[in-house]
């Protein structure tokens, strides 16, 4: 196998390319990008724009998973952050005032930071299993979001707030820049400082890391805080994209999509190793799949089955054992003699 094929991004990229090419067969102008009143317009842009919140959540999730943890509460944090921002903006006298919007955004991010810290404290301080610790906020968070919105959908009419999720900067959706910024920060912190190594070592063996002088508690706490903040920003993008906050449906099942993106990207749920760029590709695969299903008109009744099959295929393709088994079968069928020889040699 060539070193190129051994790269951890090879198979995820193949799948993404295959999905995109499949779309091309279906609608020939899938890749066409035109300019509509000063911003780019096309399916690819849509995928990036709608995929942005998922990418953000998945980036945060990657670091949590790297410490052998899991964060199930991201979907709820998405809902809470959107709800609090929209509530504050909708109660303002001038919804377009910059101060109000910045204040609301800051408030939402701060709140999600606190929620992330809560998760982190439960896991690192109280020593609760991550899946249970974050399950608490996953369940309670929906309730909190509904309390904030009063069970209603809050609609805001602020065009400045809508800019965050649906505006465009330099012809590209603004949300892409937000994602790029967060990704850059995450990459710099984990790959240019020792933090990434600490995270991986805590994921491998927290006790050994502690003994070798790494403050495992702080590392765990910080990844949950980062994950919470990522989810909070994703919530802002989502709610601003439709200019409304929906406590019940915003970010529903996001935790599962995010975990899937992380796994497709090559990060192991056993912790100790993570690939941020792989996660981004994973999230893009999921969003492309969703868009594909809408484009080719899969009947809604079987959408989930189609999704499940594609995900299964993606996971199988990425499995070394599965690929080896397939290759062996193919070989034994086509070159039986060679296999026979191989058996004698070994």
């Amino acid at each position: 196998m060539s070193p190129f094929m051994k790269h951890h991004l090879f198979w995820p990229l193949c799948v993404l390319a295959a999905l995109l090419l499949f779309n091309l067969c279906y609608s020939p102008d899938f890749f066409s990008i035109t300019i509509h009143d000063g911003h780019l317009y096309g399916s690819l842009i849509d995928i990036l724009n709608f995929g942005a919140p998922l990418i953000l959540v998945a980036i945060g999730m990657t670091l949590v998973v790297a410490t052998k943890g899991i964060d199930l509460s991201v979907g709820s944090i998405v809902a809470i952050s959107g709800a609090i921002a929209c509530l504050r903006i909708s109660s303002g006298a001038d919804q377009n005032s910059m101060g109000l919007i910045l204040g609301s955004v800051l408030l939402a991010v701060l709140l999600s930071l606190v929620l992330g810290a809560w998760n982190g404290l439960l896991v690192s301080g109280a020593g609760i299993q991550p899946i249970i610790a974050t399950l608490i906020l996953m369940v309670a968070g929906r309730g909190i979001a509904q309390l904030i919105t009063g069970g209603q959908i809050i609609t805001v009419t602020s065009s400045n707030y809508a800019y965050i999720g649906s505006g465009s900067l330099a012809a590209l959706p603004f949300s892409i820049f937000v994602v790029a910024l967060v990704l850059m920060i995450a990459l710099l912190l984990t790959r240019r400082t020792a933090l990434g190594l600490f995270i991986e070592s805590v994921g491998c063996n927290p006790a050994a890391s502690s003994m070798s002088g790494i403050r495992a508690h702080w590392v765990i706490l910080s990844v949950y805080v980062f994950c919470g903040v990522c989810a909070g920003i994703a919530g802002l993008l989502l709610s601003s994209n439709v200019s409304s906050a929906d406590g019940n449906n915003a970010g529903l099942w996001y935790e599962l999509d995010a975990i899937l993106a992380v796994v497709i990207g090559g990060t192991s749920l056993n912790g100790g190793r993570f690939y941020l760029t792989g996660t981004v590709i994973g999230a893009l695969i999921i969003q492309t799949l969703t868009t594909t299903i809408y484009m080719i008109g899969v009947p809604p009744e079987i959408t989930l089955v189609v999704k499940a099959f594609v995900v299964l295929a993606v996971c199988l393709i990425q499995s070394d054992a599965f690929r080896a088994a397939i290759a062996a079968r193919w070989k034994s069928r086509h070159y039986p003699a060679e296999k026979e020889m191989g058996r004698h040699v070994s």
């Binding site: 609608s27 509509h36 317009y41 439709v242 809604p300």
Partner: protein, 339 residues
């Protein structure tokens, strides 16, 4: 032969269950009538106040919120104890809620089923416990209608028909194909199924009206927007959008505007519900036609509950009063809109 045997067995089982259920009911009725009229008529309604267990679908739209508020307010007004539970769009939550209502021995159970099928078991449990069930807003597809007392709510098929009729009227002289895209509600839910079938039934009359794409938007704005964007990319020539609720239409309007088209002009929009945000859009000419689906079921529901507890006969189907709005009518009606 084999299928006959199976069907026979199922039939026998259903019959025996129905009979058992019927026996249980008549027994209960008898004892109440002969032994102690006070136990049923007297103490329950006068001394002990009525407890109503209500399981709501969720809070997925403005419509639903108005529905919830109406029920909560009118229960308070009527002096009933309301046990309210939010199922967050999941059937299993709703079944859990119904079971807990049965355990708590509420007087009447009422709920809006998330989806149409799969209710028989839990409804039989309620029946066995002697608790009458009132369906609101959405129906179940159970064959055994004795499992619930009545179904109070809108006629979704009729709503779909109204939407289709307006469209047929608009395009009755059309000489070329009219391309329609449809944003369905939650897959499998009664309003999605019925609004789709009612609409399809009417537009069948005009061969030029064609539904070229139909996809679920889960009754939410975010999904409505996302799906509409994909529709716009996949289909170059869309003339009409039919959305199963206002929220999806509102999401779709954003997608249409982002594509540089004018909602209401380049693409005609028909929607169902008539919530305030939808009416606002209609008054701005962005939605051309809204079929009303009245959420203020509370007062009617309380009346039904009272009748059921008093043992008065209730009709098996109670339809709420509803109208339709064009853009002009929406402009007039908007200031007095409650929800």
């Amino acid at each position: 032969m084999k299928t006959f045997g199976k069907m026979g067995a199922v039939l026998a089982l259903t019959l025996s269950m129905a009979m058992l259920g019927a026996c249980g009911n008549s027994n209960g009725g008898n004892t109440a009538a002969t032994k102690a009229p006070a136990a049923n008529g007297g103490t329950k309604t006068e001394a002990k106040e009525i407890t109503l267990g209500f399981s709501q679908v969720g809070a997925e739209s403005g419509w639903r919120s108005a529905n919830t508020k109406s029920i909560q307010d009118s229960a308070k007004e009527a002096g009933y104890t309301l046990k309210f539970s939010d199922a967050q769009q999941k059937q299993e939550n709703q079944i859990k809620a119904l079971r807990s209502f049965i355990q708590q021995k509420v007087d009447v159970i009422s709920f809006s089923p998330v989806v149409e099928s799969g209710w028989d078991t839990v409804l039989k449990e309620a029946k066995a416990a002697g608790i009458p069930v009132v369906l609101t807003d959405r129906a179940v597809d159970s064959k055994d209608t004795s499992l619930y007392v009545t179904f109070l709510g809108s006629d979704f098929v009729e709503e779909g028909r109204k939407a289709g009729e307006w469209l047929s009227e608009q395009y009755k002289d059309a000489s070329e194909d009219v391309n329609i895209v449809e944003l369905q509600g939650t897959t499998g839910s009664a309003p999605a199924n019925d609004r789709m079938s009612g609409f399809a039934e009417v537009i069948k009359g005009n061969p030029h009206l064609k539904v070229i794409a139909s996809q679920t938007g889960d009754f939410t704005r975010a999904k409505g927007k996302e799906v509409m964007q994909a529709f716009l990319k996949a289909n170059k020539d869309i003339d009409v959008l039919y959305a199963h609720n206002d929220d999806m239409a509102l999401g779709a309007i954003q997608a249409i505007e982002a594509a540089g088209l004018k909602p209401g002009e380049d693409i005609k929009i028909i929607s169902v519900d008539a919530v305030k945000d939808g009416m606002q859009a209609a008054s701005e000419g962005k939605i051309n036609f809204i079929v009303e689906c009245n959420p203020l079921l509370g007062p009617q529901l309380m009346q039904v509950v009272q009748d059921v507890v008093d043992g008065k006969p209730v009709e098996a189907r109670i339809v709420t009063e509803e109208s339709t709005f064009t853009s002009e009518q929406a402009k007039e009606a908007l200031p007095s809109r409650q929800y």
